[in-house]
């Protein structure tokens, strides 16, 4: 073993070597390109093929939608010799696409509904806005009633049979909720109290809707376009989440009858294609109804879509419930929480957070499924676009492509918005486990 002799060292560096600039392959545009796009021969080939595909797609698409498009015109003559999109036709039909055949002078009512809806959603989405719980409650209670009255015109007339049925039901509810407990000198069950509250709320809504606000009636057969799409989708979304939660809880319940009902409901609605449900609701239901009773043709598919979405939602949420460790339930019970408190404070906040992607997935699916209502004679956005193809005034060879492109853009904007919001919510609520 050689002795270490400090004097034998000829050179000692006393300062650090200055940093060399990074090699060309590591910085700048070329560096980025080399690293990300041309790092190996297969990658380089893929990049070139990809760029070529992107080029031919964009060239065709932009050529059709922008460069060769016709932007102005009075009728088909403007577009008949062009090769690009006929946006003049979309311009002429834009009102139809947004409102359908909604009475022209009353379209401000739709605008008010859209505007309040947009403001309300923006308010709720923005984290720092004041009084969010209050606004949220108003959006879930007052806003639907307001929209119903504004869109239909209110001033509902109920048949005598209906009024008497309601009064009879209310009387039964009152007896069960208050008179029976007084007689038996027991506290009314909390469930019965809430049922009574719900009935009371329905009564108030029914009453408000029967007030004459002087708004002319606009029948639902005049509704169309984006209005119908949004009405069906929003009803479905707002209805399916709470109803889906209840169904999911019911399916996990220890009470056999409730569990059975929930399982049958979920499996029935999930087992039948939506088209079948819509057809049943539209074609068969009127034949089953007693003579003289017709259900509005917009309400029929709305109910169908809402139940259908609820069944799917229930299964998504059940997935979240099952993903929670049993300790969460036991811990909540050990704290002495009753069932509803346990669900509200411990289980659901965690379960729902887990399944946000699934929930939003169902919402987006529901939003796009609304296009199916066109098979039962309703005109949602897509149906209205297809309907406009039948106008000889505008029919040209590019009318179909233009109309579909427009519908696709609108749907894409809405679905992309929902998807981004879901990602934002996931990030915001991501509190560990990762």
């Amino acid at each position: 073993m050689a002795q270490y002799d400090p004097n034998a060292i000829a050179f000692v560096r006393e300062e650090m070597v200055p940093d060399m600039p990074a090699p060309a392959s590591e910085h700048g545009v070329t560096g980025w390109l080399r690293k990300n796009l041309f790092s190996s021969i297969p990658n380089a080939i893929l990049t070139i093929v990809g760029l070529y595909l992107a080029y031919i797609t964009l060239e065709t698409l932009l050529g059709f939608a922008v460069f060769e498009a016709v932007w102005t015109g009075e009728d088909r003559e403007a577009c008949v010799d062009a090769h690009g999109a006929c946006w003049a036709y979309v311009g002429a039909y834009l009102d139809e696409f947004i409102y359908g055949r909604y009475t022209f002078d009353e379209r401000w009512r739709v605008n008010v509904v859209y505007l309040i809806g947009a403001i309300g959603i923006a308010w709720l989405v923005y984290e720092h806005s004041p009084r969010r719980p209050l606004v949220g409650a108003a959006m879930l209670t007052a806003y639907p009633v307001l929209s119903l009255i504004l869109l239909t015109g209110g001033n509902f007339v109920y048949s005598a049979t209906f009024i008497w049925t309601c009064i009879a039901l209310a009387a039964v509810a009152l007896i069960i909720a208050f008179i029976v407990p007084t007689l038996t000198k027991s506290e009314p069950l909390p469930v019965i109290k809430s049922v009574a509250a719900v009935l009371g709320a329905i009564a108030v809504v029914l009453f408000v809707c029967s007030v004459n606000f002087g708004l002319p009636e606009v029948e639902t057969d005049r509704w169309g376009g984006l209005l119908v799409t949004l009405v069906i989708a929003v009803t479905g979304i707002v209805f399916s989440l709470p109803f889906g939660i209840l169904l999911a809880l019911g399916r996990q319940s220890n009470m056999p009858i409730i569990r059975l009902i929930c399982i049958i409901f979920i499996e029935f609605w999930r087992g039948v294609p939506l088209i079948t449900i819509l057809f049943m609701a539209d074609v068969m239901l009127p034949l089953f109804m007693p003579k003289g009773v017709t259900v509005d043709s917009l309400v029929r598919p709305m109910v169908g879509v809402a139940f259908f979405a609820s069944a799917y939602m229930a299964e998504v949420i059940r997935g979240g419930l099952q993903a929670l460790p049993k300790g969460q339930y036991e811990g909540a019970q050990a704290l002495g929480l009753n069932y509803w408190k346990m669900m509200r404070l411990i289980i659901l906040p965690q379960a729902l957070k887990l399944v946000i992607p699934g929930i939003v997935n169902t919402f987006i699916g529901l939003f796009k499924d609304t296009t199916l209502v066109s098979i039962v004679g309703l005109f949602d956005l897509l149906g209205q676009v297809q309907l406009s193809f039948s106008d000889p005034k505008w029919s040209t060879h590019q009318q179909g492509n233009t109309g579909y492109l427009f519908a696709a853009l609108v749907f894409a904007v809405f679905c992309f918005g929902m998807s981004r919001y879901s990602i934002y919510m996931e990030r915001k609520l991501d509190t560990g486990h990762r």
Partner: protein
């Protein structure tokens, strides 16, 4: 299901649906509610399609408007229900609509087994052929060896087979599921001939890249009489619809139009007087006012006006009168006299 029915009933009540159903006396129902429920197509150019203002227009639509004018004195007293081909008969049977005016072909099966009545013919359609004018073909009989674009599994396809075989012509079928695909294939030159109902040919021609380079051949190889349909069992309503259609045809024959109906009221021609109700009580026999036909013509015009406005030569469809001309002009539109 029970839950659904309950909720549906609640929804119905919540939207304030009045209780008006099918009953024998459609006329009384219509008068009571103040409008006619008219079933139309989900968009067929020239027959029933909404325009860019959202108003329904077309030949079938005008018939409903004429009935409304005859019954209620107001051509706008119509609510239109767009129906798919599948829904149309159930909607009529269940009383959801009062008239089905939706380019429906009058056939024996529909007239008898379905419990419906066809109240006349407002357009004689039939299957036709369209070819490129560059082919120089003048008649379908010159089409030997042609490839024919059509829809799969329809009577259209069978009619073509019958026609070509019976005329001993060679042909090749190029069939597609949807009408749009057929048009696209024909436009792309995948076949020489495009066949469907003739009125449809004119409508689809507008969607071709160069509409002017295609011609519709004169031959018609099938009978498709299109007309309004009502429920069986209400003869009064059946008569009203039937005679409103006849009223428009008679008005054309007698030279009565929406423009001159006022002065024609003072005409000496007994046929005009009977038609417009200044003589006789033919309207009362229908359960209407005697000016029923005058109202209909004033609001909608005679058959020629309705035809020209919706499908005629000055519209983009540019359909010639052809067999739909009056019998006196060489066509087959013929209405029994009012007397």
């Amino acid at each position: 299901m029970k839950k659904k029915l309950l909720t549906a009933a609640l929804g119905a009540a919540a939207l304030g649906i009045s209780a008006v159903g099918a009953s024998a006396a459609t006329l009384d129902d219509v008068k009571a509610k103040g409008f006619i429920q008219c079933g139309v197509s989900q968009g067929l150019p020239g027959f029933s399609n909404p325009d860019d203002q959202g108003n329904w227009t077309g030949l079938d639509v005008d018939l409903c408007r004429a009935v409304a004018a005859a019954v209620l004195g107001d051509a706008d007293g119509v609510k239109f229900t767009p129906l798919s081909a599948k829904e149309r008969f159930t909607a009529l049977q269940s009383g959801e609509i009062d008239i089905l005016s939706r380019n429906t072909t009058w056939t024996a099966g529909r007239d008898t087994a379905l419990g419906l009545n066809f109240a006349g013919v407002n357009y004689y359609d039939g299957q036709g052929f369209m070819v490129r004018s560059s082919l120089g073909v003048k008649s379908a009989l010159e089409l030997s060896g042609a490839s024919v674009c059509t829809n799969t599994g329809t009577t259209t396809e069978l009619n073509v087979a019958d026609y070509f075989r019976s005329n001993k012509l060679e042909y090749e079928i190029v069939a597609f599921e949807k009408a749009d695909e057929v048009v696209a294939a024909y436009d792309a030159g995948r076949c020489d001939v495009f066949t469907t109902d003739q009125s449809g040919l004119y409508a689809q021609r507008l969607k071709l890249t160069n509409p002017d380079e295609h011609v519709v051949l004169p031959e018609i190889i099938s009978k498709e009489p299109l007309g309004p349909v009502v429920r069986q069992g209400d003869d009064q309503w059946f008569n009203i619809v039937k005679w409103t259609n006849f009223c428009m045809i008679n008005a054309e024959e007698l030279g009565v139009s929406s423009g001159n109906v006022g002065e024609m009221m003072g005409s000496d021609n007994p046929a005009v007087k009977r038609l417009l109700g200044t003589e006789g009580a033919f309207g009362e026999a229908l359960g209407l006012g005697n000016d029923w036909c005058a109202n209909a013509v004033k609001a909608v015009g005679n058959y020629a006006e309705a035809f020209d406005r919706n499908v005629g030569p000055d519209t983009p469809l540019a359909i010639a009168r052809g067999v739909n001309a009056l019998w006196s002009d060489g066509g087959i539109q013929y209405a029994p006299p009012v007397r």
